[in-house]
């Protein structure tokens, strides 16, 4: 049980969409990672993590994205992120090179269209 972040899971065809709302930091990063991994069955083609309602990610949270990408890649599954232009997270994701392992889209529609 985490009080900082909430995760909602939806299925769009072969793609799993996880809406990650709230804040992820070193206190709940491990828990968030477990929940995201559990949400992706073997038959899924991709995981889209929608960060539209996410207000805070720290380095532990960014590490979770790298780790997710590695694990999904081994299962031939893709990881995509949704980060709207208005999100305060943008610069940090660029700085940490997150887009090298997970393409970043400005909207969920754009991410699903891939």
């Amino acid at each position: 049980m985490s009080t900082l972040a909430e995760i909602g899971i939806e299925r769009h065809g072969g793609t799993v969409v996880a809406r990650l709302a709230g804040e992820v930091d070193m206190t709940n990063a491990a828990h968030v990672r477990e929940q995201l991994l559990d949400a992706v069955p073997n038959d899924a083609l991709a995981l889209v993590v929608d960060l539209g309602d996410c207000r805070y990610l720290d380095s532990a949270a960014i590490e979770v994205i790298f780790d997710l990408s590695r694990r999904l890649q081994r299962r031939r599954q893709e990881l995509r992120l949704v980060v709207p232009d208005s999100s305060p997270l943008g610069r940090v994701l660029v700085l940490t090179d997150v887009n090298s392992v997970a393409p970043v889209h400005p909207s969920l529609e754009a991410a699903l269209a891939q």
Partner: protein, 733 residues
């Protein structure tokens, strides 16, 4: 508990040593959770022999407190190394608080049972005639004195028997008086003839007072005093003076007469036997010398006033008896007229000392429960409201008017781990000790679930589930609301509770919606929640229905009155609370308890902020909240706020990872504005090391990438990270 699964024989039911060099004794001495990360490294105390035998590695212990002192402890053990967080500590403490409240309640109930038993014992040894009824008016108890007088069996006098032993000529009047007093719950006083065991009827004065157990009306308790001689005397006097004196001297009561100036002309043998004086001593106006000094002033002036208007004299006061003791007497004097002109008074007095003593003891017994309930409730309400940064807060608790009972109202405020503030007001149905104790349990339940659950409806559902699985029949209304101080967003759920009031420059309005069933009504209950955004300057007022509920007026009208009174209130939350109480309740005492809680988010606009925080990850969410408020007030936009908060927290994360052990380690954070530049400093007492693991370098990368300048200096006392960044740079560019 009689057995414990997996515990060595003899542990359950055994005695734990409370020496202070072992964990149980140490925890009893230390408020707040005691965390043992690893017993092998623990220096404060040793494990107990049982903990050693079980191979306990980590432990978490808290105190159980009742009646404001520690009565025990509760501990969680683990055979594997376990890092207990502040949240674990809070949870265990919440559990211990529920236990403490239960212990408190059991103790207070025992006291009430004792006082009931004491009453019966007292009543049976009393020389007076006593009785008690239940709330329906059925007689539930008569004492030995009553049975001796009437010569009846206890079984004949219980039930719907009120007035059955009265003289047939008096019975109707007696019952009419009784029903009238009973309906109004007022004191009842009546003189009538009561059947005596001898077969004749004797005059008695019966006095009954309503009794309340924890505020609920539970019946009457009464005494009857034999006034037969006094009555006979009054009758005789009406017939002739001569037969009066004759009769008077043989009568077992005290009798006196005065002339038209009020000077004593005669006292009988009974009076002299009481005072131990001679007839000569008592004639004239010397009787006043015997009156108790504390009573003398009022008795003498009342007597002269009565004499002047030739009225009926009735008074209870203390008169010196033979041997020097003062005893209570009840005196009654009737003006006498001869041939149309006033000639003086004739009076009787009886010794009511024993009855009087009984009365005060009785009062004491019945006031006791009221006091216990009140004390219990006070002890359960937050003594001081928590200081929550960025939130102004004020509260009032107004107990119900005299004669009514202590209710189960409460209010509470707490800061959640996500930085939002949870507010709750509630009202347990019923009154007295039971309601106060249940209030304590509910308050703790809201504290525990309020920390753990984000959704107000889910908090309500969990409290409801807890209540429904308990043995007690509990019903309560509550309003639970979570407020984001920065955005003004609120989410709330109302369990049968009146709506909170929002006040802002644009007027007043109620937060309607999210209406759900009261707690304890159905299982599972369906609890709704609603959200709203408060205007920037808004205050929020939560209250219990004692404020707005009155039998003679519809609720809508009362809510209007509340909104109007709040709208007229002067600035400031304290002024708001006072204005609302004055405007809605006025000068009268409320019929029910009233709890008020007013809050207003307060913009933080300071030059600098500074904190010392425990070196643990749980400090970070709160630190982010405070930094964000400071940065917003300083004019930073969302992206700047996030980026600066992140870098400070990354530096703090390093301090936490490298802190020495759990427990006492802390780190300091300072943020200030230097012109349009933000300067933040994080200092700890350990050595700077980049974090281990796969994300090595990412933390420092973030810090350096987001700040204009970063300095890391390792000094003797520890490591200091200084960071600077110009605000508004991205917009200017």
């Amino acid at each position: 508990m009689r057995a414990g699964f997996g515990l060595p024989e003899g542990v359950v039911g055994g005695v734990i040593d409370t020496r202070r060099d072992q964990l149980p004794g140490y925890a009893l001495d230390h408020p707040g959770p005691v965390v043992v990360e690893d017993f092998r490294k623990e220096v404060r105390f040793d494990p107990t022999p049982v903990q050693r035998e079980l191979g306990v590695v980590s432990a978490l212990a808290v105190q159980i407190r009742a009646d404001d002192r520690q009565v025990g402890g509760i501990a969680v053990h683990s055979r594997t190394r376990q890092e207990f967080s502040a949240k674990d500590g809070h949870f265990l403490q919440a559990l211990a608080n529920v236990l403490g409240a239960a212990i408190e309640r059991a103790r207070h109930e025992e006291e009430v049972r004792d006082s009931e038993a004491r009453f019966r014992e007292l009543a049976d040894t009393a020389p007076a005639l006593m009785w008690m009824t239940d709330a329906e008016g059925d007689v539930t108890f008569v004492n030995e004195g009553w049975l001796r007088f009437t010569g009846r069996e206890l079984s004949e006098d219980l039930g719907d028997t009120f007035g059955s032993s009265a003289h047939p000529d008096d019975r109707d009047d007696l019952l009419e008086r009784w029903r009238d007093a009973f309906a109004r719950r007022t004191e009842f006083r009546f003189e009538y003839r009561l059947m005596h065991r001898s077969g004749e009827h004797r005059w008695v004065l019966e006095v009954g007072v309503p009794r309340f157990s924890g505020g609920e009306f539970v019946g009457y308790v009464g005494t009857a005093t034999d006034i037969h001689e006094r009555k006979a005397m009054e009758d005789a006097l009406r017939k002739s003076e001569a037969s009066f004196r004759d009769l008077a001297d043989n009568a077992p009561v005290m009798i006196w007469t005065t002339d038209e100036r009020g000077l004593v002309t005669f006292v009988n043998a009974g009076w002299l036997a009481y005072t131990g004086t001679t007839l000569q001593d008592e004639l004239g106006d010397t009787w006043t010398f015997g009156v108790h000094p504390e009573d003398a002033g009022t008795v003498v002036s009342a007597w002269h006033e009565t004499l002047a208007r030739r009225g009926l004299w009735e008074r209870e006061y203390r008169l010196r008896a033979k041997g020097g003791d003062y005893r209570w007497i009840s005196e009654r004097g009737i003006p006498r007229h001869e041939g149309g002109s006033f000639v003086g008074y004739v009076g009787t007095a009886i010794d009511i000392h024993d009855r009087k003593t009984m009365e005060s003891q009785l009062r004491e017994v019945y006031e006791r429960e009221h006091t216990i309930a009140e004390t219990l409730q006070r002890s359960l309400l937050p003594e001081r409201l928590p200081r929550i940064e960025g939130l102004e807060i004020a509260a009032r608790y107004l107990p119900a008017g005299r004669g009514a009972a202590i209710g189960g109202d409460w209010y509470d405020a707490l800061e959640r781990p996500d930085g939002r503030v949870a507010l709750v007001v509630g009202d347990v149905v019923g009154h007295g000790l039971r309601a106060a104790a249940i209030m304590g349990q509910l308050r703790n339940a809201f504290r525990a679930y309020g920390l753990a659950e984000n959704s107000p409806a889910e908090v309500m559902a969990r409290v409801n589930r807890l209540v429904m699985t308990g043995e007690e029949d509990v019903m309560a209304t509550a309003l639970y609301l979570v407020l984001d101080r920065e955005t003004g967003e609120v989410q709330f759920s109302s369990a049968g509770h009146p709506p909170p009031l929002v006040l802002s420059d644009s007027g007043t309005s109620f937060l309607e919606g999210a209406r759900s069933v009261p707690i304890g009504a159905v299982d599972p209950g369906v609890f709704r929640e609603a959200s709203a955004t408060l205007p920037a300057d808004a205050s929020l007022l939560l209250y219990t229905d004692g404020l707005v509920e009155r039998r003679d007026e519809p609720l809508e009208r009362r809510l209007d009155a509340l909104a109007e009174a709040a709208g007229r209130a002067p600035g400031g939350l304290e002024g708001l609370c006072d204005a609302v109480l004055a405007g809605v309740i006025g000068q009268s005492m409320p019929g029910d308890d009233v709890a008020l809680l007013a809050v207003r988010p307060r913009p933080v606009a300071s030059e600098s902020i500074r904190f010392t925080l425990p070196a643990e990850p749980e400090s970070l969410p709160g630190l982010r909240r405070r930094l964000a408020r400071f940065l917003h007030a300083a004019g930073a936009d969302d992206a700047e706020t996030y980026e600066i908060t992140l870098t400070v927290c990354e530096a703090a994360g390093n301090a936490i990872e490298h802190a020495y052990g759990p427990g006492d380690a802390t780190f300091d954070v300072e943020a200030r504005l230097d012109a349009s530049e933000l300067v933040a400093t994080v200092s700890d007492r350990g050595n700077w090391r980049e974090r281990r693991g796969a994300h090595r370098g990412r933390g420092l990368n973030i810090i350096e990438g987001l700040m204009d300048r970063v300095e890391v200096s390792t000094e003797q006392e520890g490591t200091v990270v200084r960071m600077r960044r110009r605000l508004g740079a991205s917009r200017a560019a």
